[in-house]
């Protein structure tokens, strides 16, 4: 018996540091229970505010159903089990928070409207306003990607010039260094006046926000290429352009990705602020518009959509980064 216990621990040993409570079975059941509790609270406790509870109740019911399906699947699939067990305690807390939030707002009015809408109202507004929210998200994402991609490309090009050619370094590096510390959004008044429309102004602001951080990292990455790589390539017959594109640039790829990560964060910020101030579409504009009508439920809805959209972007970036830098996996830095 004792021996058996030990071997089980050894099998799971590698997971213990990585996963939260990998062995505990009770939390999955408890998490489903609290989600159902939040549902029961909403169904059974009478409302003091006028709301349409259908969307929220469907959402909670669906959430509980998905958890149950995963729970059953986790008996057969190891990876699902690990991840579900890992998240279970957190979901348990989410269920309790949703129930409390519902009780403190819609069910009692302790927290007052319009500043503190309940979860029922926010879910309802997301469903009702889905078309506007989708269009706003589309406009925001379009602005974001056009700005980030053009800024990143410009940043890579500038970074190569600065990192590779001494004269570019001499003349351009101080400019990058000084302009890099200015928050891009400071250019907003000028961008609005000089550029033909709010879209191009937004692209301009996001592009310069990402440009400097990418250029900075790329030039650093190129300049830090170990000398022995150049020497090795030269003795293999490499010319100048080969050294740049096959040695220096690949060596700078990890830095390009850290530049893009910084640029992405700055771009989220620039995107929302520039939309709030200068645009007529997008999630930032939607927040500002909803605020003008004191529709704070819509503000929260928009914030939730932003959180989801930006998290997806960051997750995709991480996947791409891990794939491109697979040659680095396992190298201890």
């Amino acid at each position: 018996m004792e021996k058996n216990k030990k071997s089980k621990h050894e099998v799971l040993g590698s997971d213990i540091g990585v996963y939260w409570k990998p062995k505990s079975k009770i939390w999955v059941a408890a998490s489903i229970a609290t989600v159902l509790l939040a549902l029961l609270v909403d169904v059974l406790v009478p409302n003091v505010q006028f709301v349409n509870p259908v969307s929220y109740q469907v959402f909670l019911g669906g959430f509980a159903a998905v958890l149950t399906v995963l729970w059953i699947a986790s008996r057969y699939v190891g990876t699902i089990r690990k991840k579900l067990y890992h998240k279970a305690q957190f979901i348990f807390a989410v269920g309790i928070v949703l129930a409390l939030w519902d009780l403190l707002t819609t069910k009692s009015g302790i927290f007052k409207l319009p500043f503190f809408p309940g979860p029922v109202q926010i879910v309802d507004v997301i469903v009702k306003e889905r078309t506007t929210l989708l269009i706003s998200t589309y406009y925001s994402m379009r602005l974001f990607f056009v700005g980030l991609v053009s800024g990143t490309l410009l940043g890579i090009a500038t970074g190569i010039l600065i990192g590779w050619y001494r004269q570019w370094y001499y003349w351009l590096f101080p400019v990058i260094k000084i302009s890099g510390v200015i928050p891009a959004i400071a250019w907003l008044p000028i961008a609005i006046v000089l550029l033909p429309n709010s879209f191009s102004a937004g692209v301009f602001l996001i592009a310069i926000a990402s440009w400097f951080s990418v250029a900075f990292m790329v030039s650093g990455g190129i300049a830090s290429t170990p000398k022995v790589y150049y020497e090795a390539a030269k003795t293999l017959g490499a010319g100048e352009s080969f050294l740049l594109f096959h040695i220096a640039l690949p060596n700078a790829v990890p830095d390009i990705f850290s530049g893009i990560s910084t640029a992405t964060g700055l771009s989220f910020l620039t995107l929302i602020v520039s939309e709030m101030i200068g645009a007529k579409a997008g999630l930032g504009w939607y927040i500002n518009w909803a605020k003008a009508w004191s529709a704070y439920d819509k503000v929260y809805a928009s914030i939730i959509i932003m959180a989801i959209a930006f998290s997806i972007i960051l997750a995709v970036l991480t996947v791409v980064r891990n794939y491109v830098l697979r040659w680095k996996n396992g190298i201890v830095q």
Binding site: P226, V228, Y229, E231, A232, A233, K234, T235, L236, G237, A238, G239, F242, H246, I247, P250, N251, V253, R326, W327, K328, G330, I331
Partner: protein, 276 residues
Amino acid sequence: MSNPGILIDIRGVDRVYYDTTGRKTEALQNVNLQIRKGELISFIGPSGCGKTTLLRLIAGLDAPQAGQLLLNESPVEKPGFERGYVFQQGALFPWKTVEENIAIGLIARNVYKEKKPLVKQYIDMIGLTGFEKAYPHEISGGMAQRVAIARALINEPKVLLLDEPLGALDAFTRIDLQNTIRKIWKNTRTTIVLVTHDVDEAIYLSDRIVIMTARPGKINEIIEVKLKPERDRNDDEFIILRRRVLEKLHLAGMHIPSRLVDPVELINVLGLGEAI
């Protein structure tokens, strides 16, 4: 004047370095050496004797202040693929797989399309079949040096320059790679210049051993290794030669414990008692 048997002609070469405080180090002083076509020659000597500097000068990675280096009678000015170089730590490109690292010379010279089959041939030759898609950090130090050698050889260089290529490897891997180098040399008849600090390695591999002294870096003596092609590290002649080289190095200022120069002690220390 010109001799068809000579591949590299080093004439009166000086190389001086100045450190940040302006202090002068004479890495090489009036070095004269002729390297024959097809031979395997090693440079050995204490640290600071300029052996690596001399190798870098041949590669064109560094330039002398005085004197001349000729390859087939034309002066060496810059690095080129006809002088393949293997660095102490391999210097494989970490973002490229084994086969991509080996192919890089072909790509750099724009001959990849027509010479692509060579990549597989060289992977087979160094015994790394099955590791084509591995990244450098996934293979051992010995394997990495094999890749570095194949990467240089795929260009079919006139001379292969090896800068202490086995210095960082353990004893077993080292002997294994010494055999590989000797086999490659026999099969390809490429001229090989080897920088080493390992006396056995120099004797086992070379036709000639260049013993160098430090401060200023100079050639002290050139020893012809007249051993039969199939070399045995426990052979009497091998041991006598080892003693001779060690004595020379000792005189040249290399810090070898003096007892190592005593042949009986030497045999015991090296664990060769039973072999004789």
